[in-house]
Amino acid sequence: MSLKINTPPPHGGKLVDAVIRDKDKAISMAVGAIPYDLKATRDPVSGLPIRNVYREIMSIAYGFFSPLDRFMTRNEVESVLKERRLLDGWLFPFPIIFDISEDDLKKLSVKEGDRLLLRLKGQPFAILNVEEIWNFDPKDLADRTFGTPERNPEVVKRKFDEKHPGWLIYRSMTGIALAGKVYVINEPVFKDPYNRFWYPPARSREEMQRRGWRTVIAHQTRNVPHTGHEHLMKNAAYLGDIEPCHGILVNAIIGAKRLGDFIDEAILEGHEALNKYGYISPKRHIVTFTLWDMRYGNPLESLLHGIIRQNMGCTHHMFGRDHAAVGDYYDPYATQILWEKGIPSFGLNAPPYDLDKGLKIRPVNIKEFWYCPKCGEITYSDTCAHTDIAQRFSGSFIRGLIAEGIEPPPIIFRPEVYRVIVKWWRVYGYPFVNKKYLELKERELEADVPPMDVPMKR
């Protein structure tokens, strides 16, 4: 058996490509379909936009979520909630639901078997073939999606509530779902700076081949990188096969985020600055993104990350402490528990790579990097024994520093990365996600949709 690792197949065996690039075909699919303008999911208390389903449509149609090619039926959601599997058996962590209000359902008079023409920014964008219309209880769905301390004691430490942004997304859904296959019929055009980071799975795989990368390690991010992230990337990448991984693929999650997180443009350009200024050679580092309103589901989110990045062609995935987490709902090492031994209460009796119809991507579970004043350098927490004096990295601390207008020292934050933050701070008048940014982002989105005329009748 060769010790060399090669690009894994897509999850489910084949990449979904539900983008109709032939304009005539796209128009013929749209003719006669019932038009519906996509709306944001909003927090019922603050009214703030917390999700736009267009991001899920893009991630389905461009193959990030392969083999998922549709919005889920009731049975499929039940299967996901019970054992985190699609109806065809492939692992998948989250219900993916197209919800619609009762008013809209009545106005549209949509029924099973109809086609919906989904419009974005007033233009035709996608087609949803309505196979099933079903009802659900949003709170029950939210609880079952993320787990409870009683049902999932291995990893869930605290009952989820409105303060958890992912739970809030499901809790804020309407309770009426339209299920069925979805197709993008009019490709959105990404705006600057998103356009240069758009590498859907097929393109990402081509790019890896072009660069001659056989082994690639994925880095999940929702952050502007501090040097702790940089050390995580550089050191995790040593684990390849007979040599370190050829490439490091940074994949940022772009969408509505929690108040106080870094803004999306700064996340992408902040990571780009690391290769632009040579902290990680651009020959070995690429920055990309996935559209997804993050659910902050720690181990479950890591499963989605594994799927996305395997589909993008990565051989390895690094997972650190508090992966995709917010607050103390989950054990800080819940993701690593999943990838080390599985979480039976979620139906995952073994790690995702040891399950039938599981994942082929290899986890690289890493604890943390800290600054050790005795060693005088940034060290790995399992290597350095000066635990009593070690100074841990804290994203919250660094955000506090930035908010006070103090440039973080270069040992924890690269000056060029800080300048990216300041650049976007000047654009938005704020360095982090705030209410104004969320509303603006919902209005503008990451992309524009080109005009497309659809005749009323064939």
Partner: protein, 122 residues
Amino acid sequence: MPYKISVILDRARLERIKGTPLERLVKDLYGGYLKVIELEVPDDIAQRILKEFPRARIDARGFIEETPVAFKRELFEVIAQLRSVSKEIFGELLKPERLSRVKELAAKEEEYLPPPTLPEEK
């Protein structure tokens, strides 16, 4: 478990505490690139701070972070005035009139924070 909160000391703040007993409490962070004063926060006070400022949180180090800038500024002011880092600091800081002033400033701060001038632009 008592939590902690730290106040970052830039040049101006270091100057303010020069020659006071506070100087002995200054701690180096990250190889001396940053100077801070750390305070212990009893659990009941930590919970109160988290309640008053919903975006504040306890980070992985057990520190209360992401409080408004106005809160941190006021905290430093109280430390500098009382020349202490004991529990009485929080009694003073959380007095209704002080707290409402901080909250007022914090609300404005959520809309806009002035971007810094970079050293090369000075």
